[in-house]
Amino acid sequence: MTTTSATTLGSGRGLGREIDASELHPDVAIRAAEDGCERLVVTGPVVTGQDIDADLGLLRFLREATSKTLRVAWQLAGRPLVAERDLVHLVPPTAGVDSAAAECVTAWRGGYRYGSYHYRWGPDFVTVKDIRPGGPPVHLTIDGDSAQQFRELTDVADLADLSPAATTALADAVEFGLAVRGERTFLVLPWRMRRWPVPYVAA
């Protein structure tokens, strides 16, 4: 038996894994969670603010990681090309490497609260809860065909892969602040609530 300082395995807790900034794909988060991993440490800063679709890719990874309750240690470079309010429900960066990033990180971390923008599946309906700062609380229920189209929107990333009905639904989702549209891709903002916090009423 040996006793080591907390920094030997990193100052975090739980089983951790290092990943490169170029690997930030939703599947990485899914696999890490399946392997029992609780935290990811991203090596090197994640560059944003140059390509909206790249930024949406990062947010898609963070959306999955947040839904899986993965803690992600990552550094932000630049500023993502989406509104600040569309970031704060996702696991925030630990630091910013430039002034624009640092300002963004301060606001992001200040506004972050687990579960502040999430959706839940029921039988032929989906409920959406939005309690992010900067707007009134919103509780939305989507049912019928719209619920199925919402499901398609959460499963797909590329605009080109959408069915005609889902393309129409995406326009509505963007209008209601449920999704962000890029050049070639789009992103449904809320994440699926699979693990409730303690206490369970806090999300």
């Binding site: 038996m1 029921g122 809860k129 693990r195 409730w196 303690v198």
Partner: protein, 613 residues
């Protein structure tokens, strides 16, 4: 002949969920060919009224504060007792004195009380506007005085309307006393209402005799009658599916809607299977109906699907006093397969196994109430809980690993307990800071129907009605004794000073919980105990010796040292008894293992929940 039947649930019914009794009786009446009763949801209307007259200063949060925290002080009843007694000053001085002794802030309740008379008048106007022939009042806990105040005014303004009371406050002798003390009540239904209430309505229609309505209290000329309560509890197959349509319709139009997330209430079982064999000595919650009955898995799945689909609500409160353990193999896995993102509350026995906790989690159960009550084995024995303190800590640890919210209270004040019983456990409470603390520690009250109440020889021979009733009812002690649920006794067990140590320890536990973690990691062939608890060294303790690793894992089940030594030897792992004892002592001193009465339990969780403060 009653044609228009109104059912009411007055404050302090939970604001975020419909009244289950009203939902059940609506279906029961409809099934009995009596039509669908209409309802008056007094909790919603009282909150809406408060919001309107205070320009939003009083609303759902203030209502919920009284509803959730006022019961053991009778605060919700006190708000309406001036109206019941036609005396604005009734109970005021008594309540102020009561509150001052206990450090209770009376400002909110006092402000609400100022609006009670006008609200009661409004409620009666709205009820009578529906021209009811019968008004039924469902009353449990603090619904008694609001219900009596409204009923009394209806009697004054509409003498021909038939007034019926039922619910938990009417069980056993309490129902007869209520009928006797408040003659404006025409009938009191005792016991399960699904049979008795429709039978009463049929009798009022001339179809059947009042004397045949099970449990009914009624006036037969000058004679007060109390029919026998139905001898056999309602079979689970005859418990109706509640009809909540009206509540959800009213909520949808209410200004209260924006302040809450509605929750469904379901009932998958009645009674308590543990209490049938070993009723907890302090518990009277099941009243006269302890016999356990549960619905079939198909019925549960069908009802759940029906209610969730109909109301598009994924938050579900199971009101069962204890889950049917067969559901771990039947109902819960089938719910998990549906892949709905539910958030469910269930009450469970505290000896859960990790596999059962995992089944709960996968089914969307996010909140459990395991009846932990204490972590001190001798005291748990006095309660007849059938578990040890070590076993309860194990359940807290495993629920923490699964991310389940655990609600529990730490009860003390048992007749044979001593401060010495608590010493070993209290000394180790700082090591539990990463596990969910009790909501509070509190001295037990004597509850009607509990073994302590029924048998004074168990330790509480002297009793009077609880002090709270002095500021709630204007009745002689003898009448109160028959009518109320809580009783005061001379304190037993821990003195208040001794209990202060427990209270302080629980307060500290609350302060440290959110920032405390102690987690076991299996990585690269070693065990790492990551200690991130407040007031403990933040270290990674790495176990590399195969015997130590195996011993630590085995201690997660809770073992005595001889058994642990034997199990290691059987696995071909070598550790002398002396070395094992020294090593386990070190683990205890380091707060990594909890010990009580010769048993040892590893404390690290296998995962950590997201904690939100």
């Amino acid at each position: 002949m009653p044609r228009s039947i109104c059912l009411t649930a007055l404050p302090w019914q939970s604001l975020e969920s419909p009244s289950l009794p009203l939902g059940l009786l609506r279906t029961a009446c409809a099934d009995a060919g009596l039509g669908l009763p209409w309802t008056y949801h007094g909790s919603l209307r009282w909150t809406e009224y408060l919001m309107a007259v205070t320009d939003g200063e009083l609303g759902p949060a203030e209502y919920t504060d009284i509803a959730e925290n006022g019961m053991f002080h009778g605060i919700g009843d006190w708000v309406f007792t001036g109206v019941l007694h036609d005396d604005p000053d009734f109970g005021v001085a008594a309540f102020e004195s009561y509150a001052a002794k206990r450090g209770i802030d009376t400002a909110l309740a006092t402000r609400m009380r100022g609006y009670a008379a006008d609200y009661v008048a409004l409620a009666v106007d709205e009820i009578l506007a529906g021209q009811p022939d019968v008004v039924g009042f469902s009353t449990t806990f603090m619904q008694n005085v609001p219900s009596l105040a409204v009923a009394r005014r209806i009697r004054r303004l509409a003498p021909d309307v038939v007034l019926v009371f039922g619910g938990g406050n009417c069980d056993g002798p309490m129902g007869a006393a209520l009928h006797r003390n408040y003659p404006f009540i025409d009938y009191v239904v005792r016991g399960e209402g699904e049979v008795a209430f429709p039978a009463l309505l049929h009798a009022l229609n001339g179809d059947g005799a009042l004397a045949d309505v099970p449990g009914l209290c009624w006036q037969d000329g000058e004679t007060a009658r109390g029919n026998d309560i139905q001898p056999h509890p309602l079979p689970p197959g005859r418990i109706p599916v509640p009809d909540f349509d009206d509540w959800f319709a009213q909520l949808a139009e209410s200004p209260v809607r924006g302040y809450l997330e509605p929750k469904l209430v379901v009932e998958t079982a009645r009674g308590c299977w543990w209490g049938q064999a070993h009723q907890c000595t302090f518990c009277g919650l099941n009243g006269t109906l302890m016999e356990f009955r549960s619905k079939s898995p198909d019925t549960v799945l069908a009802e759940l699907g029906h209610l969730i689909g109909r109301h598009q609500v994924l938050d579900v409160i199971a009101v069962d006093n204890i889950i049917d353990n067969t559901y771990f193999r039947t109902v819960l896995p089938r719910i998990a397969e549906l892949d709905w993102d539910l958030r469910v509350h269930y009450e469970v026995k505290s000896n859960l196994k990790p596999a059962e906790i995992d089944v709960l989690r996968r089914a969307g159960v996010a909140h459990v109430q395991p009846g932990v009550e204490s972590l001190v084995s001798p005291v748990l024995s006095m309660m007849d809980k059938g578990v040890s303190g070590l076993r309860n800590v194990r359940t807290l640890r495993d629920c923490e690993s699964a991310g389940l919210t655990v609600s529990w209270n730490w009860l003390y004040g048992f007749p044979e307990e001593t401060a010495a019983d608590y010493t070993e456990v209290l000394r180790q409470l700082p090591a539990l800071s990463h596990l969910q603390p009790p909501s509070a520690a509190g001295r037990i009250l004597l509850e009607r129907f509990s073994p302590y109440f029924e048998n004074g020889a168990l330790g509480f021979p002297e009793r009077t009605t609880a002090d709270l009733y002095r500021h709630v009812y204007r009745l002689p002690e003898a009448d109160l004794t028959d009518m109320v649920y809580l009783f005061r006794t001379p304190p037993r067990g821990l003195t208040d000073a001794e209990a202060g140590t427990l209270h302080d320890a629980v307060d500290t536990w609350h302060e440290h919980y959110t920032d405390s973690y102690l987690q076991r990691i299996d990585a690269d062939g070693v065990l790492v105990l990551q200690d991130r608890r407040v007031n403990w060294p933040h270290e990674d303790i790495v176990l590399t010796d195969p015997a130590e690793m195996a011993a630590y894992i085995d201690l997660e089940y809770g073992r005595g040292l001889p058994a642990l030594h034997d199990r290691l030897a059987a696995a071909g792992l070598t550790m002398t008894e002396q070395r094992l004892a020294e090593w386990v002592d070190w683990l205890v001193a380091r707060g990594l293992v909890f010990t009580e009465h010769g048993g040892y339990l590893a404390l690290a969780t296998t995962a950590a929940p997201v904690k939100v403060s």
